[in-house]
């Protein structure tokens, strides 16, 4: 879609911020560029939404525009003048402020004290009155209600975010970038935020709004730019598009194949989740009455944009997170709030999303990590004494079968392994027993093509031999290719279950984004 340079939208005025040909590659992380020649601009008085899946590069672009990251190539113009932004302070000085997805405030300090950080408005003698009254005036002006004298730790998520916005507004920016600002908010708080953003746009601010939720795009934007895998897929006025077109742009165009497998006979239920509620650390509900049944010989895919409760569901099932209400039945036994060990001993294997953080112990050796969850059992230990040769054999088998590249089983620390090798190691470690139930989270993330197809074959084999597999992935192709049924999660709930051979990618995409 060609870029329109003439301002046709109703609210658009002069261009405040323009980025040209922005590219970004992080050294050694990925071979491809995270951002590939992005053009983007925001005008006075508009809300310009950046839409895209996770990993599309939205946050990276926002960080470059606000000076948090440098770019590998490309130019940034503010009010028509080329600038170089080396730090967030640079960004603020040029009138670009960013509100991050995670709250970046010091919790033990008051709102006013947090605002003061990084300014020269208070000296050693600590006269905060000036700051407090100014923050108060700003909060009245923009309808961002929050008491500047209250400690940030005592505020709700919505209030913390308002405080964060005030902190940026204090520097009198012209462009405000908000990275997925609604992810921690209740629907009511989100509505309130949208009202504030509209009001600010009318005041003449240029607002960059980042989201992956379709309804929000339609509600708040004047213009929308769709990003996919670091490229701009299109840029359009909101009035000239609809949800369906945007969804199509956002997702991949290639058609996934439903992989061949034995016929699925609805056999006995291996695991069932009944009306589970889970509360997050801030008292917000993260799982909202989720129910699922997982059968023997079935792959149940869980699709959804990340942050909609998938991680919490997996943690609840594997005993890593407390279940407030509802029950978890594994192989006919009530395992609600059982310990991770008890659940593991029921034959549940777990390939976690956070591989380096919890999947392995990085400073320990490859051999030790190969039996991280099996060391208690024969033949790896006998009367509490570890059997090194049995562990060596086991590790060698996994290394051989899964193409793990590890210099030495007993001398190499696991931290030196690449992410892909660690993932292959975990796949081997968690699947060698042919477990009855496998809970897999993003199992192929970061693997190359060959390893992906190997993993897919492995999953189909395990399924055909009777394992029940719960597969959480953001990769819709993977979910459709592997699953027998697909459950779609949105805002802490399962909003739909479809048979995989009837699944349509754009339809799934619509359900995923709450459209």
């Amino acid at each position: 879609m060609p870029k329109t340079d003439t301002a046709e939208g109703k609210d658009t005025g002069r261009t405040l911020l323009r980025a040209e040909g922005i590219s970004k590659g992080f050294p050694g992380v990925w071979e491809h560029l995270i951002l590939n020649e992005i053009d983007f601009d925001v005008k006075e008085g508009e809300v310009h939404t950046l839409l895209g899946e996770n990993g599309a590069g939205k946050t990276v672009l926002a960080n470059i525009l606000s000076g948090f990251y440098g770019s590998t190539a490309g130019k940034i113009y503010i009010q028509g003048e080329e600038v170089e932004l080396n730090s967030p302070q640079d960004g603020l000085e040029h009138g670009v402020g960013m509100i991050h997805q995670e709250v970046m405030l010091a919790k033990p300090f008051t709102v006013a004290e947090n605002v003061t950080l990084g300014t020269d408005d208070s000296d050693f003698s600590y006269p905060l009155d000036k700051v407090e009254s100014r923050v108060y005036r700003l909060s009245q002006k923009y309808g961002l209600e929050v008491d500047p004298t209250v400690r940030v730790g005592d505020l709700s998520a919505g209030e913390q975010q308002r405080a964060e916005i005030l902190k940026v507004l204090y520097h009198e920016p012209q462009v405000l970038i908000l990275d997925e600002p609604t992810s921690l908010l209740t629907p009511q708080e989100a509505q309130q935020l949208f009202k504030v953003l509209r009001g600010m746009a009318d005041e003449g601010f240029g607002i960059v709004f980042i989201t992956h939720k379709m309804e929000e795009v339609m509600e708040v934007s004047d213009r929308v730019t769709v990003l996919k895998l670091g490229k701009v897929m299109g840029e359009t006025d909101i009035e000239e598009t609809d949800e369906e077109e945007l969804t199509e742009m956002m997702l991949d165009e290639k058609i996934p194949i439903h992989l061949e497998r034995k016929e699925f006979k609805k056999q006995s239920t291996s695991l069932s989740v009944e009306d589970i509620y889970v509360t997050g650390p801030r008292g917000n509900t993260q799982l909202n009455g989720v129910s699922l049944d997982l059968h023997e010989g079935e792959i149940l895919g869980v699709a959804g944009v990340s942050g909609n409760g998938q991680s919490e569901l997996i943690e609840a099932i594997t005993g890593l997170r407390e279940i407030d209400e509802g029950s978890l039945i594994i192989e006919g036994e009530d395992m609600t709030n059982a310990s991770p060990r008890e659940i593991q001993e029921k034959g549940v294997a777990h390939m976690p999303e956070k591989r380096r953080e919890i999947g392995v112990v990085e400073p320990m050796t490859v051999g030790e990590n190969m039996v991280l969850r099996d060391y208690r059992d024969s033949p790896f230990s006998w009367h509490s004494v570890l059997n090194r040769s049995a562990i060596t054999n086991h590790a060698e088998e996994i290394i051989e079968e899964f193409d793990v590249i590890a210099p030495d089983i007993w001398k190499s620390e696991t931290r030196i392994l690449s992410g892909g090798n660690i993932q292959r190691m975990i796949l081997g470690r968690e699947s060698w027993r042919d477990p009855e139930i496998i809970i897999a989270s993003h199992p192929t993330h970061g693997l190359d093509r060959r390893a992906v197809s190997h993993t897919w074959e492995l999953f189909i084999d395990l399924r055909d031999s009777g394992s029940a597999i719960l597969l959480v992935s953001e990769d819709l192709d993977e979910v459709i290719s592997l699953s027998d049924r697909i459950a779609v999660m949105f805002e802490g709930n399962v909003v739909g279950i479809v048979d995989s051979d009837e699944a349509d990618k754009s339809e799934l995409g619509m359900i995923m984004t709450g459209a």
């Binding site: 080396n86 310990s339 991770p340 060990r341 919890i358 969850r373 090194r388």
Partner: protein
Amino acid sequence: MLTRIYEQVKPILNSFLAGLIGLAVGAIIMAIWGYAPFGAYDALFTAIFGSFYGFSSTLARATPLILTGLTFAIGVRGGIFNIGAEGQVFMGALAAISVSLLSLPSGIHVLVAIIAGAMAGAIWSLPPSFLKITRGVHEVISTIMLNWVALYFGMYAVVEWLGDPQRAEKSISAATTSRLPIMVSGTSLTYALFVSLAFSLLIFFLLWRTTLGFELRVVGQNPAAANYAGIKENYSINSTFILGGLAAGVAGALQIIGHPPTYALYSDLSTVRNLGFDGIGVALIGRNHPIGVIFAAVFFAGLNVGARTMQITAGVPLEMVRIIQGVIIIALAAPELIELSNQLLPAVRNWINEVKAS
């Protein structure tokens, strides 16, 4: 290949380097204050290695340090900062004196005394463990406080209950049946050394060859992964405390039943004081490894023993050795300092640019 060998021996090299830096800085300080550093080091090392007597004394001094070093090392492996060895040593020593009131055949009496000391040390490690697990109290606070409780309890016990009727300044001596035989006559080196060495090997085996040690190290490195692996974190923390307490308790017992000529505690507990704190330095130099701790303890003990000779023959004050020990520990912490400065440098550069720009 070479880099891999380097990775393997790096901790040892670091410790050696730190030792050299410590000695070098010590020499500079001595030179500044007008002492002759070479004469001092000559005296120091002659005292340690120059005579059989000196080396025996060094080993005798190293005997309890190995164990208190283990206490701290086990703590680090298991993820706790256990500085309670000091108090646990006192309790172990008191227990060993107490059981010498029993009359038992000699071999068994030694065993009973060691076990009693170990138990006393382990029991004294339980309150910090309990407080940490149930109330989240940090072990540094609780162990330091209990060190003082143990000190004054020990002084009171020596005077009130275990006092020597003939000599008011000390406790009764360990019964002859519970004493460990002297290895080198004329020195305080006894077969207690072998108890320490055996304990080190036992801990080595426990940490790297058993499921308990495996769990303990996983919890120490990554509690979240431990939870994922089905390891009970609290059980593991408690085991870490108890193992450390056992080691320190044995150290206390050995200072009674294996420490001629008195085989007793003085009322100010001087024969067992600072062993626990020196253990922290020993563990650091020994890289928290049971085998490394043995060599580090000998080195530390050598400095302590040689310091006296250094004072007498070279006229350099005893405290110089404390300075050297301090510098060594700082030098060992230096790699982390370098890392920190690497992180700080870009910030400083930005700041300089800003100043230039304005």
